[in-house]
Amino acid sequence: MSDHPKGPAVLDLDRADLGFSQEVVEAGGGGLRNCYGCGACSAFCPILPKAEGYDPRRLIRLVLLGQRELVLGQPLIWLCSTCYSCQEVCPQQVSFTEISFALKNLAVEAGFLPSGLPAQVDLLSRFGRLYEVGEFENEKRAKLGLPPQESQGGDYRSLLAGLAARLGGAGSRPGPREDKGGGGGS
C-alpha cells in the first residue's frame, strides 16, 4: 500500500520537462547533475527503510528525467529529515539535502505546501521566534537565575514580508498533506 504513487507505468520523455533539472540547480540544488546513480545516499538514508517509496537516488533520477509534476506534487520530498548523511557519503558532491530544500522551495512556489509552515512564518513575523517569550516564561527563567529573553518581531516582519506575500497567493491550493488520508508515511 502506498500513498506515494510511482507515477505512470511508462515514463514518456517527450512529455517531460527536461529543463526541470536546470530549474532545481538554480533553486539551490547545485550538485544535482554530478550524480551518476551510485546509490550511496540511499544506502545511508535513515528515512528510506522507514518510509515506503522514499529513495534519494530515485528522486534525483526523476528530476533528471524531467518529471516535474510528479516530483513536486508528491509528499515524498517533505520526508527528508535533513540529517545530511547522504551528503557525507556522496562521492560526487551532489548534496542531496540541499536538493531536497530546493525541491521543497519549488513545490511551495507551485502551490504545494504542508499546512504547518505558513503558521511558522506568521509566528516569526510576530515574535521573531517560534515560541513567544512573555512574562510567564521570563518569570520561570528568573527563578532559575537565567537572564530574561525578548521576542522581537519587527525585523522579521519586514524581512519575511516578501515570503508571506508569496505564500498568501499560493496558499489556497491544498497541498499533498491535506489530501492524505491515514497516518504518517509508514
Binding site: E88, R129, Y131
Partner: protein
C-alpha cells in the same frame, strides 16, 4: 574567553535545564557568555519555504554577532548548523552576500565575512580545551554509563563543521563522557537522526527513528542518553510516552543534556543543574550527587 550566547527559539523556553547547566559549566571554565537580546530565530524553519530568506535571517543574527565582535556559541545543534552553513555560504558567495546585505541594510545591519559559529560543546572541546576540562573535574561519575547521542547537525555537513569530529565515527562526546568519569556506552548504532525535523508533519515516522535509538540505548544497559540538542530532546524525552503507546513498547530511558553531566562532575549539585526539569529521571544518579556528596 568570551563568546556571544545564541539562544535560539527552543532552549530558552523549553529546555531551561540545558541552558542553566551550560551557563554554570561555562562560568566554571572561565568562558563568559555574552547575551544579545536582539538574537532571534536562526531561520532553520524557513529553509523549506525559501532558502534565501532563511539565509537572510541567519545573516541577521551573524551580523549582530559581528557587531559584538564575538564568535557565536549555541546550545541547539540545528541553530549551530544553520548559522554555520549560512556563514559558510555568505563567506564564499559574493553575489549572495550582496543580495543579503541589501536586505539587511533595511534593518540597519551588515554581514561581514569571518563570523565563526560553534556548538557549545564544540567550543568546549576546541577552544576551552581538554586540559582545562580535565582540571575542572572534581568528582568523577564512577559507575555510571551513558550513550552519547550526537544527532545530525552537530557533525554535518562536515565540510561546514570543518570536520572537527568524524561524522561516521565521532569521538568528542564519548571523550567528554569519559572525562566525567562515567563510561561512554556503545549501543552498536552509528550516530543517527532523531527525526526531530519531521515531528511537525510526520509524527509517526519521526517516532520510528527515535524508537530505534531508545531501544538500542536500553538494550545496551546504559543509565541514560546524553544529548546536545533541544530537538533531540523533544523527540527522545518528550515523545517517549507516545512512542511507547503507538509502538507498544515499554521504554524508560532517562535523558540528560551533556552539560548537566559535566556539571555534576565539576561539583555542582543536581538542583543547580536543573535536574528537576528532566522529565525521565535516573534516581540513582541524582541521589548519588545530591548536595555535593
Amino acid at each position: 574567553m568570551r563568546a556571544a550566547f545564541y539562544p535560539g527559539c527552543t532552549v530558552p523556553v523549553r529546555n531551561l535545564n540545558y541552558e542553566l547547566a551550560s551557563r554554570r559549566v561555562a562560568e566554571k571554565l572561565g568562558l563568559e557568555l555574552v547575551d544579545e537580546p536582539r538574537f532571534q530565530c536562526c531561520g532553520f524553519p524557513m529553509k523549506s519555504l525559501s532558502i534565501e530568506d532563511a539565509l537572510t535571517l541567519a545573516g541577521r543574527n551573524l551580523a549582530l554577532g559581528g557587531g559584538l565582535g564575538l564568535d557565536l556559541v549555541t546550545l541547539c545543534s540545528a541553530c549551530a548548523g544553520t548559522l554555520a552553513e549560512a556563514a559558510h555560504e555568505l563567506d564564499r558567495n559574493e553575489e549572495l552576500r550582496e543580495r543579503v546585505n541589501q536586505r539587511l541594510k533595511g534593518i540597519g545591519l551588515k554581514y561581514e565575512p569571518g563570523r565563526k559559529v560553534f556548538h557549545f560543546v564544540r567550543y568546549l572541546v576546541e577552544e576551552v580545551g581538554w586540559e582545562r576540562l580535565e582540571a575542572a573535574v572534581e568528582r568523577p561519575l564512577k559507575g555510571f554509563g551513558f550513550v552519547p547521542h550526537y544527532g545530525c547537525h552537530y557533525l554535518k555537513p562536515s565540510e561546514v563543521m570543518e570536520r572537527f569530529d568524524d561524522p561516521q565515527r565521532p569521538r568528542t562526546l564519548h571523550r567528554l563522557i569519559e572525562l566525567t568519569g562515567a563510561r561512554a556506552v556503545e549501543d552498536g548504532r552509528a550516530p543517527g537522526c532523531c527525526g526531530g525535523g519531521l515531528l511537525g508533519s510526520e509524527e509517526e515516522l519521526a517516532n520510528l527513528l527515535s524508537a530505534d535509538r531508545l531501544l538500542a540505548a536500553e538494550r545496551a544497559g546504559a543509565d541514560g542518553l546524553a544529548l546536545i540538542c533541544p530537538f533531540c530532546n523533544v523527540m527522545l524525552e518528550g515523545q517517549q510516552k507516545k512512542i511507547n503507546k503507538s509502538l507498544e513498547l515499554d521504554l524508560r530511558v532517562p535523558i540528560f543534556f551533556l552539560p548537566q553531566l559535566l556539571g555534576l562532575a565539576m561539583g555542582f549539585s543536581p538542583s543547580e543543574l536543573g535536574f528537576k526539569l528532566n522529565r525521565i529521571k535516573n534516581k540513582e544518579l541524582v541521589e548519588a550527587f545530591e548536595d555535593g556528596t
